[in-house]
């Protein structure tokens, strides 16, 4: 996998990519004697190869156009721009952008948990890496920013909507990865959009946020998958409706999972908030800029907010169903805490989440240099106009040559950039800085205050006398574990708003008559995109290919006939071309 990141030759890249994909397959099917695991593995392999196919074509065309397999910055050649779509499709499958995510939930859910953590934390980021890398090197079509941002917003919203409706907690985490990839894509789309509109200031913010989110997501999602693995190990089930009350048996896992949940929802004072905040800043700047890009930045910002609120609901549900309340089944009641070897990595990851959240300035130099490398012309201190001339693809756009756009002070704690929002206002420096250091202090202060207030209240309660009693439940005399809200009932209200895309399968038998039989209500959310779009299309494809297959029957003489017919057709084609 490291190889993918380091090679600079297209052919080598493809080989490394393929090795990486096949390794992924073997990792997923480590537990290969289960049917579901094998199916998931096959699905992964098939979609992964569809992606590789796109990449093969991409690299092949690239090699044809440039005359070599060497990779490097090729921003000048505008004819390479359409290739971006191929790269987007190829890497997008790996990253799991929404309509291409079909392999992701089942692969993540069925792989062993440490593999899921690795895949979610690192492997799908390879797709993001590819998109960022090649959009930095190659010229991109003008529509790329719009498309990537729209895809990102869709992924974020629908990914989290699917996550909310899941009952299997590893599937929930997997869909949440789709959401987070969507958030990253929103940032990247913002960067592309800003680049194609010539005002790069907010675009780099969005890109920095996206890149930071790649790391953050790697940390907290791995933490959550480790937590999930420890729960799975202890109880043997992935269904949240069979769990509950695990905090009593597994306090460490519960606490660390809660920490990861706060991070993944993007709440202060942890790391998820920092990157989402940066992306928001970029989007808000774009909207305040009142350029055409505001038309897409505005819905993106709102959808990002929606996705954030849905993520809160999702992880409140996940945490509550697994760890809180009363145990719903015996296996949950008899769970045991994970060992030190499982706890250690979780603690380390939690430390990373906390550290990146409280001291975000640590990573800023790396981020700015990465964003600078992505867009070398602007950060090199050239004026925007010069950049516009250097980049032929942008020639059609009006240049908002605000005074001294982006001086070289990009690398530093604050991006000193003149906001391009008011090109005519004579350089009103409306939004000058990214106060990441201030944000760090705020987060630190918040964490400190929380710790202090929590301790204080705990002391006070202890001093006032704490008694234990059964849950009040409005005076109901015999509360039982089965009366608790389940994962389905928790998600019901919000996921009903998305039933148009979730398409839940319902089985219902109402209560009837005086001596009613048992009433049933079941609801399950299928892999809608796979089951209702891809598979029917594939079935249609199979029909067509079955028809074609009849040509393949084993009679040698007919094969010779085919050859003759083909030759005749080719010859007539050539002849026809020669006829004026």
């Amino acid at each position: 996998m490291l190889l993918v990141l380091t090679v600079s030759n297209g052919l080598h890249f493809l080989v490394a990519w393929e090795v990486f994909a096949v390794c992924g397959y073997f990792l997923i099917t480590l537990d290969g004697n289960k049917r579901a695991v094998r199916t998931a593995g096959w699905l992964y392999l098939a979609t992964s190869h569809a992606g590789t196919l796109c990449l093969c074509v991409f690299f092949g065309l690239l090699a044809v156009k440039t005359g070599g397999w060497e990779l490097g910055p090729l921003r000048g050649d505008a004819s390479l721009a359409p290739l971006f779509w191929l790269a987007l499709a190829g890497f997008g499958i790996k990253a799991g952008i929404f309509p291409l995510h079909i392999w992701l939930p089942s692969a993540h859910a069925n792989a062993p948990s440490h593999v899921s953590a690795l895949m979610s934390g690192v492997a799908i980021k390879m797709g993001v890496y590819g998109i960022v890398r090649f959009s930095g090197w190659l010229p991109v079509p003008a529509a790329a920013g719009w498309v990537v941002m729209a895809l990102g917003a869709t992924s974020a919203l629908l990914g989290i909507a699917f996550a909310l409706a899941q009952n299997d907690f590893k599937r929930l985490l997997a869909y949440c990865s789709v959401e987070n990839i969507g958030i990253i894509m929103i940032g990247i789309g913002g960067a592309l959009l800003a680049r194609s509109h010539g005002d790069a200031a907010w675009g780099r913010l969005a890109l920095a946020g996206a890149l930071l989110h790649v790391w953050n997501h790697g940390a907290f999602k791995a933490l959550l998958f480790f937590g999930a693995g420890s729960v799975l190990h202890a109880t043997g089930t992935r269904e949240m409706s069979r769990l509950g009350g695990l905090w009593q048996r597994m306090p460490w896992t519960a606490g660390l999972f809660a920490l990861g949940a706060v991070a993944v929802v993007g709440l202060p004072p942890l790391n998820g908030f920092v990157s989402e905040w940066l992306i928001y800043l970029g989007l808000f700047d774009a909207v305040a800029g009142k350029q055409a890009s505001a038309w897409v930045a505005m819905p993106a910002a709102i959808l990002l907010g929606l996705a954030g609120a849905l993520a809160l609901a999702t992880f409140a549900k996940a945490g509550a169903m697994i760890f809180l309340g009363a145990a719903r089944t015996k296996s949950a009641a008899l769970a045991h805490e994970c060992g030190n070897w499982m706890r250690g990595p979780m603690l380390a990851l939690a430390g990373i989440c906390l550290g990146l959240g409280l001291v975000p300035t640590l990573v800023w130099p790396a981020l700015t240099s990465a964003a600078g490398a992505w867009q070398p012309v602007q950060s090199g201190g050239l004026s925007d106009c010069g950049n516009g001339e250097a980049d032929g693809q942008r020639a059609g756009y009006p240049h908002h040559s605000g005074p001294g756009i982006v001086p070289a002070a990009v690398i530093g704690l604050t991006i000193g950039e003149t906001h391009a929002a008011k090109p005519s206002a004579g350089g009103a420096p409306a939004m000058a800085e990214v106060p990441l250091a201030t944000l760090g202090w705020v987060q630190l202060g918040l964490a400190g205050l929380m710790a202090a207030a929590g301790t204080l209240l705990w002391r006070k309660v202890m001093a006032n006398n704490l008694r234990r009693g059964p849950t009040w439940d409005c005076g109901y005399a015999a509360p039982a574990a089965r009366m608790q809200y389940t994962s389905g009932s928790f998600a019901g209200l919000a996921s009903a708003w998305f039933s148009w895309i979730l398409r839940p399968l319902r089985t219902m038998r109402r209560v009837h008559g005086h001596f009613p039989a048992e009433a049933i209500y079941q609801e399950r959310v299928p892999e809608t995109v796979l089951d209702m779009v891809i598979l029917p299309l594939a079935a249609r494809g199979m029909q067509v290919s079955a028809a074609v297959r009849r040509l393949q029957h084993g009679h040698l003489s007919f094969y010779i006939l085919y050859v003759v017919v083909a030759l005749a057709a080719l010859a007539s084609l050539v002849l026809l071309e020669n006829v004026p």
Binding site: G245, P251, A254, V262, V265, F273, W277, Y280, L281, F284, V287, A288, K290, A294, A301, I302, G305, L306, G308, A309, L312, A313, A316, G319, A320, L324, G325, A421, A430, M431, V434, P435, T438, V442, G445, L446, L449, M450, G454, L457, W458, K460, V461, N464, N465, L466, R467, R468, G469, T471, W472, D473, C474, P479, M483, Q484, Y485, S489, F490, A494
Partner: protein, 302 residues
């Protein structure tokens, strides 16, 4: 030193004034209904009493059940520190603090929700589901509102965002923010803070099992949140930044009082909505904020 003094004064201001608001609302409601009603300072008495009381905790709940209300309270207090107070300005202002404020509110919600689910009670589950689900719609409306403020002022720092007057979009924004205020603070028509019919509650259902000092923290936090939204509404709509400091303070106070009375009147005159109609109202709020945003963007009519 001066900074510290300012901070302490500000904290006192928020801490001491916030519990007035529910008292005023209750007084207005009593007045409309022709009753005498509880004293305006009732919440202060309640808080003092609760602070001295012991705590009964569910056997299912973890120690976090007691601690989380404190975290909610801290999140809300920190949000209040970011909110400018007319001529006083904000305790801390930086670019992007508006978003920090939004996410602090979300943090407060997350802590409340987590504590509610600790008890394994069906009622708390019910309240939680409603809270997190309606928050999704309210969040969209809030983001649109903040975007519109940001667009018309060209800034993402609350202190400058709330300064200039809004023009034609102000009416739209005011209506939208008022609906959000009602929803976020669980007032009628979204929730009935007075009801004892548990099936119809959101916030009250979530905090059913709390008692003693944690409950005091929750109640005080809720009143701070109400004050926060009232201050936001008044400053977003009225051109307070252009007035003399004293006049600005007076206008701000009057505005907050007006909003509080309006909440009381709404609660007296409207019934709580059926839950299936809540999304419609929140969508309306979202659209109001969205149109305010578009008006701010395009310069709008007039």
């Amino acid at each position: 030193m001066k900074l510290l003094l300012d901070l302490i004064l500000r904290i006192d201001c928020w801490l001491l004034l916030a519990p007035l608001l529910p008292g005023i609302i209750n007084k207005v409601k009593a007045w409309v209904a022709g009753r005498r009603g509880p004293p305006v300072l009732q919440l202060y008495y309640d808080l003092a009493r609760l602070w001295k009381k012991g705590v009964v905790m569910s056997t299912l709940a973890s120690p976090a059940f007691v601690i989380l209300p404190a975290l909610t309270w801290v999140a809300l207090l920190s949000a209040a520190m970011l909110m400018p107070l007319g001529p006083l300005g904000a305790g801390l202002t930086f670019r992007g603090d508006a978003l920090v404020l939004l996410y602090l509110l979300a943090l407060g919600r997350f802590c409340t929700v987590w504590a509610a689910m600790e008890t394994g009670s069906a009622f708390e589950g019910m309240g939680t589901v409603r809270e997190v689900s309606y928050a999704v719609l309210a969040e969209a409306a809030l983001i649109a509102a903040v975007l519109s403020l940001s667009v018309q002022s060209g800034s993402i720092a609350l202190a400058t965002m709330l300064g200039p007057p809004l023009g034609a979009g102000a009416v739209l924004l005011a209506a939208g923010l008022f609906i959000i205020l009602l929803a976020e603070n669980c007032r009628v028509p979204f929730d009935d803070p007075n009801t004892h019919l548990e099936l119809a509650m959101i916030h009250e259902a979530m905090v059913l099992d709390h008692s003693g000092p944690p409950l005091a923290a929750i109640l005080h936090g809720a009143s701070m949140k109400l004050l926060l939204f009232a201050v936001l509404l008044v400053q977003a709509v009225l051109p307070i930044g252009q007035l003399q400091p004293l006049a600005a303070a007076a206008v701000l106070a009057a505005g907050v009082l007006g909003v509080t009375v309006a909440v009381g009147l709404v609660e007296s005159l409207w019934a709580r909505f059926a839950f299936r109609r809540v999304p419609l109202l929140l969508t309306t709020a979202f659209l109001l904020c969205l149109f305010a945003l578009l008006v701010a963007w395009k310069g709008g009519p007039a």
